[in-house]
């Protein structure tokens, strides 16, 4: 087994353990469980980082060329984003871990079923823009997943308070204010990254094919996604939107991302189709 795959599988298992840890915390509310899960997640993140570096070294090119690599990097970006939020929100960020670690684990699991062979890099991808464009875009997706997760948590908590059912969910989830700020911060980091991802993509396209924009399905969906998040951010900053509407819109943005990442990349032929050349 190649080193990168070995560390990848190790990271997957450790993420699964961290997920269980966060679930235990969600159930028992014991501080020790959250702290334990956090350290396990850190270990998983370290192993995952090693796996990415090993992949780069073993392949000789940046690991953003197929579905396995992209999904793995996305999971890494998600965990990184979570660690950023955890720093920022301390104790209140813990419950978010119970929403994020399963997503990261599922992404890894999905990625583990993709072909992992290292193939010669097609000429079109031999560019410095590959790591820049791909890494920036995938990082932005990580933060959009976080925005959606905190949005879902917000909607759950708001429902509890409005319906005046102050049970387990009410007691476990952080305050509305905190959840809203998590959502906002994720957007404020994710949106500039997405913008930069689209710009670098256009510059690269100009270099490779001589045109900045060719309405390829991926480009179209990325633009839709960009418009959704731009609208959300505008309403948030200019009109003062917050809470429920912002949470819903970040979930809508997440759905456009799902289409752009899974449906378009897998089934619609274009420059981002991963299945085309490795399968």
């Amino acid at each position: 087994m190649a080193m990168n795959v070995f560390f990848f599988k190790l990271a997957l298992m450790v993420y699964a353990v961290a997920t269980v840890g966060y679930f235990v915390y969600l159930y028992t509310m014991k501080e020790e469980a959250a702290r334990g899960a956090y350290y396990v997640l850190l270990v998983g993140f370290g192993l995952h980082t090693i796996s990415l570096v090993a992949r780069w070294l073993e392949a000789g090119y940046p690991p953003f060329t197929n579905l396995f690599e992209a999904t793995s990097f996305l999971a890494w970006a998600l965990v990184l984003g979570y660690l950023v939020l955890d720093r920022r929100f301390q104790r209140q960020g813990r419950v978010l871990g119970a929403f994020v670690t399963p997503i990261a684990t599922l992404l890894m699991l999905y990625s583990s079923f993709c072909p992992k062979d290292i193939l010669p890099l097609p000429p079109v991808l031999r560019s410095l823009w590959l790591p820049i464009h791909a890494a920036i875009s995938l990082l932005s997706y990580g933060f959009f997943i976080l925005a959606a997760a905190s949005g879902v948590m917000y909607l759950l908590q708001e429902r509890e308070i409005k319906k005046k059912r102050l049970g387990g969910i009410f007691k476990r989830l952080p305050s509305l204010e905190t959840l809203d700020r998590m959502n906002e911060l994720s957007l404020k980091i994710g949106f500039p990254l997405l913008t930069l991802g689209i710009i670098t993509g256009a510059v690269w396209a100009e270099e490779a094919w001589g045109t900045y924009w060719s309405w390829d399905p991926k480009e179209t969906w990325s633009l839709i996604m960009w418009l959704v998040y731009a609208a959300l951010l505008h309403e948030r900053l200019a009109v003062g939107w917050r809470g429920r509407k912002a949470a819903w819109l970040s979930i809508v943005g997440f759905l456009t991302w799902l289409i752009s990442f899974f449906v378009v990349n897998l089934f619609i032929p274009g420059a981002h189709t991963y299945v085309e050349w490795h399968g």
């Binding site: 908590q157 308070i161 409005k162 102050l166 009410f170 204010e177 939107w241 917050r242 429920r244």
Partner: protein
């Protein structure tokens, strides 16, 4: 029961909100008297250690004695005499616990399981204060010192391992808890009080204690508003200015005597855009209600009326009752541990005496040997002899000491007496060996019957 080798016993005598009306409790509480009741009880020769606790819900005396029956009578009499009451006036209200039951009761009191409001934390502070006073007077000794320290740690353990103290069980605290789930940190937030009333003022007080930065008081009569504002260091406004100020505040507590809604959903809806959609939390504790219920349906607006809050409190109380059952198990476990310590305390002097005797013999014999060997051996050999004798003594004593500790709680004083005799711990000189006793046949037979 009471002979020379009687054990120390822990006795607790008291009355609380369930067993006695306040008229009796207050008469026995020594409140406002300028002497410490603990010294009064210590004057009784039978009372070896004492501790006195008096709160608005209970008066209790905890003491250590070797003759509990007589000591209880003595304490009751002193208690009655000091307050000019006949013993019979409060005797039927008294409860009495001994040893493990007393320990358990104290643990329960400290963790709030015996409180009027289940799980309330104040009592622990009162216990600590009472202990500080008793300890200053040296009224507590080995047993009560240990017991009270244990009590504090058990209360702490129960607080951290069970939910006995979590979730608000009063309407005003429930409102504060809700506000925290909406706004997170209450610092930099502002609140408004519309109308006045005990519960509204209490809630305002809690909010201020949680760090709410600014309080605005609105009232139909401005003079009353000014008076309240002064008390809470807030700003007084008239009801006409209400809508302007609603743009600024985050939490509104309303409790006017108005016969109709003073705020409608339409009004509140209009406020939201200029508020930049910032959330607002209305607490309506007025009956009839001040705020139209439909307000709760507006985005980023939350409304709780008095019945909603009462339902929350009821639910939280049910939760605490469930947690109380878990606390009882911890108390049972800790009380057993304390009992084991108490028993070990009885054997402790014997173990010390045993060790001291062995050590004295070891030193004496070692010195004797070394004086013969002076000059003939080096430092290393002396050290080896030192280690050898020490480990001989330790190994020989190990089993008897373990036996003492293990058997004491089953066979009691008998084991201690036997050990003291066997090792001659109470004699001055070494025992002389006596000629063997002559057993007559019938005496021997008697022995085998046993």
């Amino acid at each position: 029961m009471s002979n020379g080798t009687a054990k120390d016993q822990i006795v607790l005598l008291g009355l609380n909100h369930r067993t006695a009306p306040v008229e009796i409790r207050e008469k026995l509480s020594f409140a406002g008297r300028d002497f410490d009741p603990v010294s009064l009880f210590l004057e009784l020769p039978l009372v070896r250690e004492a501790f006195f606790l008096s709160t608005c819900n209970r008066v209790e005396i905890l003491f250590v004695t070797r003759e509990p029956e007589a000591a209880v009578e003595g304490v009751k009499e002193v208690w009655a005499r000091a307050n000019d009451l006949p013993v019979s006036s409060f005797e039927p209200h008294l409860y009495q616990f001994r040893n493990r039951e007393a320990v358990k009761h104290l643990f329960r009191v400290a963790s709030g399981l015996d409180s009027l409001v289940l799980g309330e934390p104040q009592i622990l502070g009162q216990l600590k204060e009472a202990y500080r006073r008793a300890a200053e007077r040296r009224a507590t000794g080995v047993i009560l010192n240990r017991l009270l320290h244990k009590t504090f740690s058990v209360a702490k353990r129960i607080r951290s391992e069970t939910g006995i103290g979590s979730h608000a069980v009063s309407v005003s605290y429930a409102a504060v808890e809700l506000a925290k789930k909406i706004f997170g940190d209450l610092r930099e937030k502002s609140a408004m009080l519309i109308g006045a009333g005990e519960m509204a003022e209490l809630a305002a007080q809690h909010l201020l204690a949680q760090g709410v930065e600014k309080l605005i008081v609105a009232n139909r009569t401005l003079s009353r508003a000014i008076e309240l504002a002064e008390r809470f260091r807030g700003e007084a406004i008239s009801l006409e200015e209400l809508e302007d100020y609603l743009l600024k505040v985050d939490i509104v507590i309303s409790s006017t005597g108005a016969p109709h809604y003073i705020l409608t959903a339409e009004q509140v809806k209009r406020l939201m855009r200029p508020r930049k959609m910032r959330p607002i939390f209305f607490i309506d504790i007025a009956v009839p209600r001040d705020i139209e219920p439909a307000v709760n349906e507006i985005e980023n607006v939350f409304l709780y009326d008095i019945d909603d809050l009462k339902a929350v409190v009821e639910e939280n109380l049910a939760y605490r009752r469930k947690e109380a059952a878990r606390a009882e198990r911890i108390i049972e476990e800790e009380a057993l541990k304390f009992e084991a310590w108490l028993e070990q305390l009885e054997v402790y002097p014997t173990i010390v005496a045993l060790r001291q005797k062995a050590e004295a013999i070891r030193r004496k014999e070692l010195e004797k040997t070394l004086s013969h060997l002076r000059g003939k051996v080096d430092e290393e050999t002396i050290e080896a002899l030192e280690t050898l004798t020490k480990s001989l003594v330790n190994k020989l004593l190990h089993d008897p000491i373990i036996y003492l500790k293990n058997r004491y709680h089953r066979d009691g004083q008998q084991v201690v007496d036997f050990t003291r005799k066997i090792f001659n711990l109470d004699g001055e000189a070494p025992l002389e060996s006596l000629p063997p006793e002559i057993h007559l046949p019938d005496e021997a037979e008697e022995k085998t019957k046993h």
